[in-house]
Symmetry: C2
Subunit: 397 residues, 2 copies
């Protein structure tokens, strides 16, 4: 593959509840924010990959979602591919855009992720989410994501001595981070006591640990790095140092960190980027239920097996820590409009690497900006295995 790939621009529509906005409106804001951020004319965009999960089931728009969205945003004639991978949809769209540029097929490509989950019918939205499994095996049979996560977390508590307070600490950290993020759905910092006292959803998961329903969109424009160098004249470039995607091969309930799909996918990503977990300066990870962040520390190799609780107890994954995780607030605080999340993770890492993250800016002890950021985005499960694991490493060069 011939070209280095840079992220030229990123944009978001805030995550939250936007009753009068439809897919087109949400996506339009993210797309044009990304174009403005990239500093290019929209006509330079040669192709687009559009991610959405639930448009068909929740708002009735299927089949040509990307074409409808891009026409509304003012585009005509470019190749558009609609991409779907459950909650890893947007990172998959980003990966396809990366591949289009990496290969030399295109020079400038747009990736968009958008979701509209508030449709005035919570039961319908939850039923739609259950299609991220094999519906003939468990999707329609009550084994909802939250309970899968709960079983997984209980097993980890037994095996590694995680306490309820540890689980609360993750949500406490991420709600604080979210309070600093203007795009976050929830901006109220919560204490771990408030988290643990909130309504029990699926023991040990309480309401404030769970990612909410959400509307929102995120977009990125990627380009041949040579173009980025011309446009950015002397300013740092954000390079896509690695892109990896796998479907699951190990049970979410049974696997140790090193058996997990996240681990094997991350290994390939580290190899592609030529770095190790020790080089990662921050990570945006898939804490659909915030305690899951703990197992992800271990699966990404940010610590050894069993040491995740040390990281959270010692505050090492706070914005002020040595390996900040989810400075954006993560899925539970920034929000999780499923088809948009992966690109919101990319956006956060880009802002952080550029030093544009405002009050939630990550810096090393000596005040330096981070150089390597990782995003980890999961999607669905089939016969107990993670259906999609998509990991990107971005670097400032």
């Amino acid at each position: 593959m011939v070209n280095d790939v840079a992220v030229l621009g990123i944009g978001m529509h805030p995550f939250g509840k936007f009753e009068n906005k439809h897919l087109k409106d949400l996506a339009n804001t993210a797309i044009w924010n990304a174009i403005e951020d990239a500093g290019i004319h929209a006509s330079k965009i040669q192709a687009a990959y559009v991610g959405n999960c639930l448009g068909g089931l929740l708002v009735g728009q299927e089949s040509v979602r990307g074409q409808v969205i891009l026409r509304h945003a003012g585009f005509k004639g470019i190749p558009i591919v609609n991409v779907e991978n459950a909650c890893a949809t947007a990172s998959t769209a980003f990966r396809m855009a990366w591949l289009s540029v990496k290969s030399g097929l295109h020079d400038v490509v747009l990736a968009v992720g958008v979701e509209k989950m508030f449709v005035g019918n919570t039961a319908k939205s939850i039923e739609a989410l259950s299609t991220a499994t094999d519906i003939e095996v468990c999707g329609n049979m009550g084994l909802q994501f939250t309970s899968i996560y709960a079983m997984n977390i209980r097993k980890k508590m037994d095996r590694y001595g995680w306490t309820k307070e540890d689980l609360g600490l993750v949500a406490e950290k991420n709600s604080y981070n979210g309070s600093l993020n203007p795009y976050a759905q929830f901006k109220k910092p919560l204490s771990k006591e408030e988290v643990l006292a909130s309504k029990m959803i699926a023991d040990p998961i309480t309401l404030f640990m769970a990612s909410p329903m959400g509307d929102g969109a995120a977009a990125a424009i990627v380009c041949n790095e040579k173009i980025a160098r011309q446009l950015k004249k002397g300013n740092p470039i954000i390079r896509v140092a690695a892109s990896e995607l796998s479907s699951g091969h190990a049970s979410m309930l049974e696997s140790t960190p090193k058996e997990s799909t996240t681990y094997t996918t991350a290994l390939k990503a580290y190899e592609q980027a030529g770095v190790g977990p020790e080089d990662i300066d921050l990570a945006e990870v898939h804490d659909a239920m915030s305690p899951a962040e703990l197992k992800i520390y271990e699966e990404l190799g940010l610590c050894n097996e069993g040491d995740a609780i040390k990281l959270i107890r010692e505050g090492r994954t706070k914005i002020s820590g040595d390996i900040p995780v989810n400075p954006s607030g993560g899925l539970a605080s920034r929000g999780h409009p499923v088809g948009a999340t992966g690109l919101a993770q990319i956006a956060e890492v880009v802002w952080q690497l550029r030093g544009e993250a405002g009050k939630r800016q990550v810096r090393s002890g000596d005040g330096k900006l981070p150089r390597f950021g990782l995003t980890q985005n999961d999607g669905g499960y089939v016969e107990g295995d993670q259906a999609a694991s998509c990991i990107h490493i971005l670097s400032r060069v």
Copy 2:
């Protein structure tokens, strides 16, 4: 882009009505037929792109359709991307597989297209099809595909002197071709009189000119051409000489042949393959309503503007003609399970280029096998424009 790409294997599940078969069953047959045809071990497949349009709306399987299908087929761990582009879904999945190999990202990649449209509720199936438009503009308002095609065809009749007999001749030709195709949904040869006497659907389109509801699947395995050469030892290779995708830029109702999205997409495909329309030995085209085949002759440059009726009247697009079109029977006879059609077109061209098309084998006047075959697959429309136009050129080398 570094590698030449070959089609190593193709497979289909017959198109038709299969009441007791679901997406997984249909796809499984196509996938394993393709693997057997490729002559490789399934473990050599490194990634998969899975196309489906209506699974979410018609059978309730959304989000991870490809993962569910591939797990059922016995795959675990490989990267899977779910792809959608209305009726051009399967050709888009094939294009993504091509890009993955062309770029050097992978060496052997599977593309699958599958659709299940017979769900015991025709109204529901038709409503699902209407999502291949902007549902807020016209999808839910009665302007169904058939009527768009009818308006387009009436305009062409006025402008170019097409008669009802010409329209009937296309269906007559294609129903004969379909009668020779073991995978076709309809195998009864029809006379043009029978076609014209069948029920009027949207004047001038009669029932036997319209593609039917259908269940079915098709798959292709593409690989780095070097691998194909090792495996095929001296036998001809089927190369993907061009892959092009556009979204529409010109109204389906107003455009002349050279203004059409098909024309501009085809031009790029010819350029990529280094050939012209005069080099094409056969074409599989998107005759969702069979008279549309006439305009496609002109849009692909197989004849000059206004000359399409000469081609059909003189029998030149019959299997025995000098430029056979839709030897498979096309969408109206082979059938049109929407998310599978593009790969069925690819399968037909591969069989034809290899000389494996049995009674419908295309040969030149001196008995030679065809060398260049083209597939043209359309998907959806947004604000009057074709939403996706995907064209491939395959060559025997």
